[in-house]
Symmetry: C2
Subunit: 213 residues, 2 copies
Amino acid sequence: MSLPQISDAEKPSGPRRTRIQQRNRQIILDAALEVFSTHGFRGATLDQIAAGSGLSKPNLLYYFDSKDAIHRELLTRLLGTWLEPLRKLDPAGDPQAEIIAYMRRKLHLARDFPRESRLFANEILQGAPRIEDFIRNDLRDLVDDTAQVLAAWAQAGRIAPVDPYHLIFSIWALTQHYADFAAQIGMIRGADHDPTDGAEAFLEQLYTRLLAP
Amino acid sequence: MSLPQISDAEKPSGPRRTRIQQRNRQIILDAALEVFSTHGFRGATLDQIAAGSGLSKPNLLYYFDSKDAIHRELLTRLLGTWLEPLRKLDPAGDPQAEIIAYMRRKLHLARDFPRESRLFANEILQGAPRIEDFIRNDLRDLVDDTAQVLAAWAQAGRIAPVDPYHLIFSIWALTQHYADFAAQIGMIRGADHDPTDGAEAFLEQLYTRLLAP
DNA sequence: GTCTATACTCTGATAGAC
DNA sequence: GTCTATCAGAGTATAGAC
C-alpha cells in the first residue's frame, strides 16, 4: 500500500527528472513527513529533516524550493488519498455494508498511514490555512453528496434515522483517533501492541447497532 | 464555568501576589492558550503572545520565567480538569445513564473549552513529551479502574458486551473531535453555527443503541 | 549534485533606564 | 512594573567551491 504521487511541480524542473532525483526527493519527503506530522509546520525545522534524511540542509533546498514547498508537496499528495475512501461509497449498495466498509477503509488508512493522518490533524488544528480551499470545495461537496445518500437511506427506512453529517464526522473521529492519539493509547494500553488492535471489531459492533433500522 | 487554578509556583514569588499580578498572569495565560493551542509549543512565539495580551515581550518574562513556564502552567491547569468527568462516573449508578452522562460532560468540555482541548491534542500529536508522566500514571490508573467497572457491567449483562477500553476511547474521540476539528466542521457546515449543534442528540442515540443489553 | 561558509531574519531572554 | 535596547542562538535560505 502506498500513497499516490500526484504533484511534480517542483525543481529541478528543466530536463526530465532522473531516478536519483526521484529517489532523493522521496527520501526527503519521508523524513519531512515524520517531522511535520509531529511538530506542525512552524515547529518543524530543516535541520531535523536534514538529519532524518541524511542529506545536508542546502541539499534539501536543491531538491525543493523552500521549507514551504516540501510541506505543500506532502499535503498535495495526501489530499487525493483522503477523499478516496468516501468516494468509493456506493449509493446503489447495501446501506449498512457500505457505511461499515467506509469506516473500515478509513480505519485501515489510519493504521497504515498514521503520519499522514497526524499531518492532516496538525493542519486542521492550526485552522487549516493551507487546505482551506480543499475543504471548502472538494471535501465539502463530497460530504454534502454523501449526506444526501445517507439521508435518503434513512428516509427509506434502510438504516436508522441518524443525522448524516454527524454520522460522517463520527467515522472520521473514531478512525483518525487511533492515528492522531496513538501516543496516548500506547501509554495507556502498553506501547507494544498496535493501537488499532480490537478497534475494527468494536467499530463494527458500534455501527451495526447504530444503523440497524 | 471556569477552569480551576492549580499551580502557583511561578515568579514573582517573594511576597504575596497582588491582584494586578494575578490579573496580568491570567491575561498572559489567555493569550498564550490561544497561540499554543493553534501552533503547538515550538510553533508558538512570545511575540504572538505579547501581541495577544497587549503586553511587551520582556513584560511577559517578568511574570513568567520562560516560554516553557507559561506552557507548563497551562498544561498543569488543564490536567486536573481533564480527569474530572471520568472521576465522576459512579460504579453504583445506572450503567447506561452513567456512561451517557460521562459522554455529555466530555462533550460540554469540548464545547466550552475548545482551546484547552486543542492544547491537549497538540501535546499528544507531538508524542506527549511534557505530559507522559501524567498519562502513564494518573490517567492510566483512572482508565484501568473505569475499564474494570465497565467490564463488570458488561459481565452482569447490564450493558452490551463491549470492549471497555475502546468504549472509553470512542467517547474521547467523538467528543474532542468537535473541538479539535472545529475548523474543518465549520468549513463544511458553515462557520455560523456551533460545531457541536446536534452532536449531543446524535451521540446519545449512538451510545443508547450501542449499550443496550 | 553536494558541500562549507555565510548572509540575514526571527526568537527567547537579559540589562538597565525610568 | 513596564519599557527600549540589545545579545546570543537558532532558523531559512543563498553563494560559490569542488
